[in-house]
């Protein structure tokens, strides 16, 4: 296979060789924001007077071969254009700083050629703030869920389903380091703190060869690096959480840091409220926190080093005490979350060679513990139960980019991860022999190469190959994954694309739908649970109108998946079960076909987008639905989102979002019959009860889902210090639509469960729906602060109350311990 690709590459070189006859030089470097020093991802770099250009990559890095003596024009939406002022004669490394253009939003920017990208949903911080959200604060995953091809399970959920995939098939890369668990609040919030995000790209298909390991998507999140012009920060408060950001330069030259944190506001409140109610015998508290930190150091303009730390947990605690004298105490605690530590070195080795090396450690664990003590005169007893499910990932990644020729760029690299799964580790104090915990180690190594060849002016062909090896205790597998991506430039600003990719996934997520706890258990592939595989074919068109003011795209795809795994029917949990493998259903197949449309208005007084997708997704498992193919549980045939953001003046802007979707499928009852009970009633007789006869699985649709959200944001200056502050007022579900979460049959319209076998008055069975999220107005406030040099005096007065605040904050953070 590889020799074929080399041959093919050679053919391309020969075909396009006349183009490289002129004297060529290579310009590389990076594009950054002049004020903050942030990398600008996707900036356009064009050889002046031609349509030959490229865009900066996820590190803000670019490398372009141009004719000697020519100039480069560098542009980025919202920034002033930059033209290299000097004649470039030899290979050069330049760092370009673009200044934000505060006035240009009304104007039209001229960019000679934008490199269109396919099967990628992109969103940056600015765009996120233009979407009204439930907490009045931008939500990363919920913003992405509005893009065509990306959907979710139930309303409010932050789990992503990409092109008919499962929630466990997304690779979340946080600055190129995989993160395992990405939800808070049982999936109602994502762990990504919007304050630290620079840019997000979601690859829905056509993965570059450097990505793999998950079937459905790669969510590539680039964090900000911290402002280098001075110490800055922000504080924000909304209904769900309070957050802070602090960033600035450090003492070491050319180094910056950024720290952000979030913490729920509801948990102390909940603990307080529950201790008041219910006879003060129990206390319940739920909460989460996230802390992100990043340190970046650029010793020279060729090297950049960064260190990254993330920690986030959700916790649900329950304390109970029965009576004052009985001496009974009971504590139940659940904690789940991630740890991530990574170090990265990016270097421009030569104008033609760029390298990025990373080492990272991630750990996800779900821990449930129960402590029971009884101490009184008559009896003392203790019981401790602990259950842990964990995944650990120690990874090394080395990525290289080599610009071999003007029209040939090669990416290659090595990724290796040592994964340690312990899906089921339990400890019960009363057991005489403890269950041996079931730990399996696996090593996943991938070698890849991507070759991007430019032909016919602006058309490109990217031929990639990823070779993966997976080894675990008793199972080994090789997988060869070809990737092909062809962009054909048909007219100015109109590009066609076709792609094919194969991906394998070596760990499965056993996922409990709708549960706030015991959420995620990761299972490594093995003999009984083979690795999943998918093939995806896409075809797309991308067009720009009126100098980039409008961009539009259409993507068609067909995807098939094999060897999927899920819980066996009726099981929702593997907790403490030694025979967990028998509760997993494997060998599943999935198919998804869809069409996605997106039109964006990028500049002008009002901006926004319309996205629409039409999909059909099915699943087939040997022992589910009697082995018959059925409609996927979260199949939404039609899905439409409309977002409009209108800037009324410098201070006030208005945002609107309307979402329309056909309802989720459900299994209808087509009849009922009477069934004898298994147990006898009080008279000692068997009795008959009413049971439902179900139709074909997921063969009906719930009623349509639609909702309108509006948001108003007002930016102002604080009175004392003249800091920028933003008030955000938003209304979720403006016309209070009762959208269904699920349907159920009941004989009681109060919402209480009523089983006819419990006896009582006979009432006919009817179909009911549960809906959440009525109209919800929210208000949030965020203030940005800037420690300017002339404010040094005022810092010393702050110093005084710094310590108590720190202590207070510490106590508050640790209140669950």
């Amino acid at each position: 296979m590889r020799t074929h690709i080399i041959k093919l590459t050679l053919i391309f070189i020969i075909l396009t060789s006349p183009l490289i006859a002129q004297q060529q030089i290579r310009i590389s470097g990076s594009v950054k924001d002049k004020l903050s020093g942030e990398n600008l991802i996707g900036a356009n770099i064009v050889e002046q007077g031609t349509i030959h250009g490229i865009s900066s990559d996820y590190n803000g890095y670019f490398s372009i071969a141009v004719n000697a003596g020519s100039s480069l024009q560098i542009s980025y939406l919202g920034y002033k254009n930059y033209l290299t002022a000097f004649d470039l004669k030899k290979d050069t490394i330049i760092n370009v700083f673009l200044s934000p253009d505060t006035e240009q939003l009304d104007e039209v920017i001229v960019s000679a050629s934008r490199t269109p990208r396919f099967n990628i949903a992109t969103i940056n911080y600015q765009q996120m703030t233009q979407i009204p959200s439930i907490g009045g604060k931008p939500d990363v995953i919920k913003s992405l869920q509005l893009m065509p091809g990306i959907s979710y399970q139930n309303e409010g959920s932050s789990l992503m389903l990409v092109r008919g995939g499962d929630p466990g098939q997304n690779l979340y890369l946080f600055d190129n380091v995989p993160l395992i668990y990405v939800n808070h609040l049982g999936g109602f919030m994502s762990v990504f703190n919007p304050d630290i995000i620079n840019n997000i790209d979601v690859y829905k298909g056509g993965f570059p060869a450097r990505y793999g390991g998950k079937l459905s998507s790669v969510v590539d999140i680039t964090q900000r690096e911290g402002n280098n012009s001075g110490l800055k920060g922000s504080l924000g408060i909304g209904i769900t959480d309070a957050s802070f950001t602090l960033e600035g330069p450090l003492k070491i030259e050319n180094s910056t840091f950024i720290i952000t944190g979030r913490k729920t506001m509801i948990d102390p409140l909940m603990a307080f409220a529950s201790s008041l109610s219910g006879g003060s015998n129990y206390i319940v508290s739920y909460g989460f926190h996230d802390i992100n930190g990043k340190f970046t150091w650029k010793p020279d303009n060729k090297n950049s080093f960064s260190l990254n730390v993330y920690q986030g947990d959700d916790y649900l605690n329950y304390w109970s005490r029965s009576g004052t004298n009985s001496g009974e105490k009971y504590r139940l605690s659940n904690v789940w979350g991630n740890w991530l530590v990574s170090a990265r070195l990016n270097s421009i080795v030569s104008p033609k060679l760029y390298a990025s090396n990373k080492i990272s450690f991630t750990r996800y664990r779900l821990k449930e513990s129960m402590k029971y003590t009884l101490t009184n005169a008559a009896d003392t007893s203790k019981l401790r139960i602990r259950y842990i499910s964990a995944v650990q990932d120690l990874s090394y990644r080395s990525d290289w980019k080599y610009n071999a020729l003007k029209n040939w760029t090669m990416d290659f690299g090595l990724h290796t991860s040592l994964l340690r799964f312990s899906p089921n580790d339990s400890y019960i104090s009363t057991r005489t022999t403890q269950q041996t915990s079931d730990i399996s180690n696996s090593l996943e190594t991938a070698l890849y190469t991507d070759n991007k060849i430019t032909f016919l002016r602006n058309s490109t062909a990217t031929l990639g190959l990823r070779f993966v090896n997976y080894i675990t205790n008793d199972y080994m597998r090789f997988s060869l994954e070809p990737r092909i991506n062809i962009n054909l430039s048909v007219a100015k600003n109109h590009v066609l694309n076709a792609s094919y990719m194969r991906v394998s996934q070596f760990s499965h997520l056993a996922f409990t739908t709708g549960s706030i706890m015991n959420n995620e258990v990761w299972i490594p592939a093995g003999k009984k649970v083979p690795a999943a595989k998918s093939d995806q074919y896409t075809f797309g068109w991308n067009g720009d109108y009126r100098n980039d003011m409008f961009s539009s795209e259409i993507n068609l795809y067909y995807k098939n998946m094999s060897d999927l795994s899920t819980f066996r029917e009726g099981y929702t949990n593997l907790m403490g079960d030694e025979t967990w493998a028998t509760k997993i259903e494997s060998g599943g197949k999935g198919e998804s076909v869809g069409a996605e449309f997106l039109v964006r208005k990028n500049s002008g007084k009002w901006t926004g987008f319309v996205s629409y997708s039409r999909t059909r997704t099915t699943r087939q498992y040997p022992n589910i639905n009697n082995g018959v193919k059925y409609i996927f549980d979260y199949n939404r045939p039609n899905s439409l989102s409309l977002n409009i953001s209108y800037k009324l003046n410098e201070k006030l802007s208005f945002n609107l979002l309307w979402v329309y979707q056909t309802g989720l499928p459900f299994t209808p009852a087509i009849g009922r019959y009477y069934v004898p009970s298994l147990e006898n009633n009080f008279e000692g007789n068997s009795y008959y009860y009413e049971a439902l006869i179900y139709g074909e699985r997921n063969s009906s649709e719930m009623r349509d889902y639609h909702r309108l959200d509006i948001g108003l944001s007002y930016s102002t200056l604080t009175k004392k210090r003249k800091n920028k502050a933003i008030w955000n007022f938003s209304v979720y579900n403006v016309y209070n639509r009762h959208n269904p979460v699920y349907y159920y049959y009941n004989s009681n319209n109060t919402g209480e469960i009523f089983l006819s076998e419990w006896g009582g008055e006979y009432a006919p069975l009817s179909l009911y729906q549960l809906s959440l999220f009525p109209i919800i107005p929210t208000l949030s406030y965020k203030v940005f602060f800037d420690f300017k040099p002339h404010e040094i005096k005022s810092v010393s007065t702050r110093e005084k109350d710094r310590v108590p605040f720190k202590q207070k904050f510490g106590n508050w953070i640790n209140q669950n311990n």
Binding site: S515, D633, R697, Y744
Partner: protein, 90 residues
């Protein structure tokens, strides 16, 4: 043979240790046909899917086991032995 079970009520007066009352039991042993066994097993799944619960794990609708061609229901049989009433306190 030992049977561990817990049924009955517990009460405590004026903070004294718990006093547990155990209810009498009747044991019933059934020897069942395969169809009956399948039906019982599947009935638990049916009940799990019958009423979804918000914020708790839920499964999708699941049919009861049926072995009647062209209809619904089961044809099954079992035989049983029943003990006398056992009073655990004695």
């Amino acid at each position: 043979m030992t049977i561990n079970y817990f049924t009955g009520s517990a009460s405590s007066m004026n903070g004294e240790p718990m006093h547990t009352d155990l209810y009498p039991v009747i044991l019933e042993l059934r020897s069942v046909s395969q169809n009956y066994y399948r039906f019982v097993k599947q009935k638990y799944l049916y009940e799990l899917g019958r009423y979804p619960e918000f914020m708790a794990a839920s499964t999708t609708a699941f049919p009861l086991y049926s072995n009647i061609n062209g209809g619904y229901g089961i044809f099954a049989g079992y035989s049983l032995v029943k003990s006398d009433t056992i009073y655990p306190g004695n």
